[in-house]
Symmetry: C2
Subunit: 515 residues, 2 copies
């Protein structure tokens, strides 16, 4: 048996399991590729305080293939890391950081390259020009899947590339360009709603150009990188942190490696753990570490800082929905930050009703994780679960089963230093109960606002009907009353109108106004 | 930016994403651990033609922790691969082979170890005794997650371990032992249905012992390992195969590296590709390779051989269902093998109705992939989709929405050299349209059999009612007829009974028999 055993490279693994990365079929493949590249561009721009400007061009490349190019105005990529970024899976700068970003796993863009070479045999072509430098680096990179290492096909410096600074990626893949819900266009539209400080231009294969203009000139603040919170760490991780620590004492280890642990909290924790705090981190026995962990988890500490999060905010959410959907009513909420497994996160929700929104059938969901639209796996997503667990009839909507119906769009956004996706393809948010609960509170909040709007609307409708009735009644009664009272018909009509006005607030007239 | 970039080990990746491996929560964690170990044991026994005998023991280990041991009677594991098997993710003997087996990714059991050390800090303990050897090797292994390499904590030879031969694994994890649908007990019960040649004993934490006895003494034939089929290969893979080939010519490359390609087919393919066949594999240009691939895909070839598949078979499926469910009616079907993306696969289905099966509510599904029960992610599974796309009212069941209702259990099994799971946790089968179609044909076949049974049952019921009515009628009429005809009442009654018998087949008597 022994001789048959061998290591499996992570690239081989995902080549065979490419559906896990979002490459299930040609239609989804092109969306996934665009998504991974756009996510990286937006992350890079925000990090460097540049208002993003992204051009996406997609062309037919013959047969079942598409060629695409994605070009940004970020600060470019260091020459020495380019091959690894595009030619090695599980490589990147975001995985080991606790900071909100669109990418987090170091798989996305290299997986696109893997899919490209699998289906068309072609390498990825990268142009990148660092800000302040003259030269543009051009690479053609493949992945040596058996070793998960980049294979550099070409590497040269060009001086005629049309760039101020930034990165441009070109690939050829087996893909199918479609419109509709599952489409590049829809993905970019949703991206524009959530990233209103970006300008995105899409050239479609048929020559059509769509621009999603910048509607805000303000970049959100850079989310801060944070350290782990003592309440969210697991035993195995704590053991590794102690082993790798360069701190001289357990007390200084706690203060330097965790957030929200100062001198006083560190003292409390070590005391609870039956330690002095002066022990060297490496000297702790397993039972000491277990005690330490228990003490960490049972010492009350401030919640993690939330400047590591970058929600979109109520105003921008509403502005985005108004711009794209032209609804009659919009409401939004940004909840306070919360924590799951030690990871800070924040839920936002918005609701749009009426106007240009389609009347027929079920609601439309706009799902986002760290500002990235989620188009697939709706039924496995925590957002969907939160919406389904909400009784929408209480908020004035009709329901079929537990699905709200009507001209309504419900937006849910999770911002976090670590979004728990249900697969490497990052298509749906895993159903942690605490996350679903936060999402429910958010959608219920906007639901209540919508209810007020709908009740008011309904009341106005009833009122209008009543007014119309009374006004008709008055018209018929006035001549009869004239005879009875000898008061002139016109005066009676005027009196009746005044009464109606008092009763029903608005301008109301017999036979007049708003019938 | 550059200095922050680094490689991410696959162990780090899955430590942070442990929900992808089936370690979402303590209840699921213990099921996943048992599943991975039992899968390996069954694979090893079958491969070595040993009737499996597996003992699973689970104990409380204080706090939220469980300790478990799983011991098999397979042939043991080579000493030099033990550390890698348990201490390195993506390592194994099954990934690179096209052969039906329960494990396929080289992640399962090492992932359990990863979860164990993350939650309890403890290493995995392994005892393994090779068949025909005296000594038992004992290892304690941890995973160095930053490098995805095993760390050997202890390594010694013991001579007092209670073994003929086989492997025993011990771990301590954060886990919660439950009963019900999502439970170790249910997982083993379903395993017993699908692997009736195994004996499995479960010791539960409360001291309870459950035995799933062996009901068949016949091991299924070993599924053969096959080579890839030319119709299922992708360009990138073909390029790599050509690059790594030791064949001297393209023609011999085709014949030696693929299944169903003999001399004649190879000639046809190279001719279609505009090649002579005498080219050296490494010498082909990319355009040649594209032509070659197109020719491979457009040359009609025999389907892949199917001795790489090991279905359970109709008799054993029915026997398993009868034993565990005691139903009134069982039907089953093993479909002919089919192919998706070049991978041979085979669908089996069975249906059980009535008897001890619960009347209330929706049907129960028994889902299997390569004989392994799938307990989670039902709604994302191809099996569920196939059942939902079937109109069960045509087969005599009532439906709520598209969900069949009644005292009915529907079993679907996919056997394949490569089951496309929706996640590394191997919990659901991805919804490839061709696979769903095969599954539908299978469940519809057993549906039709059930329909015949249910119609017959319904007819018998109607008949019974009629007979009862006529018999009562006869009883009342006989005295009147006696007066009219002067024939004795007893004779009239007897005549009537004879008539009923002729009309309605069965023993029928006036006032008699089966009222």
């Amino acid at each position: 048996m022994g001789e048959q055993h061998r290591e499996i490279s992570v690239a081989e693994f995902f080549e065979k399991n490419r559906h896990l990365l979002g490459f299930n079929n040609p239609q989804k493949a092109i969306i996934t590729c665009v998504k991974e590249a756009v996510d990286n561009s937006l992350d890079a721009c925000e990090q460097e305080r540049i208002l993003p400007e992204i051009h996406v061009s997609i062309d037919d490349a013959g047969g079942d293939n598409l060629r695409f190019q994605i070009k940004d105005n970020a600060v470019g990529i260091d020459r020495d890391v380019i091959p690894n970024i595009f030619g090695k899976l599980l490589y990147g700068s975001k995985f080991h950081k606790l900071q909100q970003s669109r990418g987090q796993q170091g798989i996305g863009i290299s997986a696109s390259g893997l899919y490209a070479q699998l289906t068309t045999g072609n390498p990825v072509k990268i142009y990148s020009k660092k800000k302040g430098q003259e030269d543009t680096n051009m690479f053609k990179v493949r992945i040596d899947t058996q070793n998960n290492e980049p294979e550099i096909i070409e590497d040269r410096v060009v001086d005629d590339y049309d760039f101020q600074h930034g990165t441009s990626i070109e690939m050829e893949i087996e893909g199918r360009y479609t419109t509709g819900h599952h489409s590049v266009r829809n993905y970019l539209k949703h991206t524009a709603i959530m990233n209103p400080y970006s300008r995105i231009v899409l050239n479609e294969p048929d020559g059509n150009t769509i621009e999603f203009p910048r509607v805000s000139q303000t970049l959100p603040p850079i989310p801060k990188e944070i350290k782990p919170h003592p309440h969210g760490v697991e035993l195995g991780v704590l053991m590794r942190m102690l082993k790798n620590s360069s701190s001289r004492t357990v007390s200084s280890f706690l203060q330097s490696e965790f957030t929200r642990v100062g001198r006083t909290s560190a003292d409390k924790i070590v005391e609870k753990a039956g330690l002095s705090g002066k022990e060297r981190p490496l000297s702790l026995e397993k039972s000491d570490i277990e005690d330490l962990l228990e003490a960490m988890q049972n010492t009350s500490l401030q919640n993690p800082p939330t400047n590591c999060l970058s929600p979109i905010g109520e105003d921008l959410m509403e502005e985005g929905l108004r711009k794209e959907l032209n609804p009659d009513f919009v409401a939004s909420v940004t909840r306070k930050p919360s924590v799951y497994r030690g990871n800070p996160y924040q839920i936002e929700a918005a609701i749009a009703y009426g106007g240009d929104i389609d009347e027929d059938g079920r609601y439309e969901a706009l799902r986002f994780a760290n500002k990235v639209p989620l188009l697939y796996k709706r039924s496995s997503c925590a957002t969907t679960e939160a919406i389904k667990q909400t009784d929408w009839s209480r908020y004035g909507l009709s329901q079929s089963g537990n699905i709200p119906k009507g001209p309504v769009v419900i937006l849910v956004h999770m911002a976090s230093v670590w979004v728990p996706f249900t697969s490497e393809g990052k298509e749906a948010i895993a159903q942690y109960p605490e996350i679903i609960k936060e999402m429910k509170l958010a959608v219920q909040k906007v639901g209540r606002k919508m209810k007020r709007y709908l009740s008011k609307k309904r009341k106005e409708k009833v009122l209008k009907k009543k007014r119309k009735k009374l006004s008709a009644y008055g018209t018929a009664m006035a001549p009869a009353l004239e005879k009875l009272t000898n008061v002139e018909e016109d005066i009676i009509r005027k009196e009746l109108m005044e009464t109606l006005k008092k009763e029903y607030g608005k301008e109301a007239g017999i036979n007049g106004g708003d019938s």
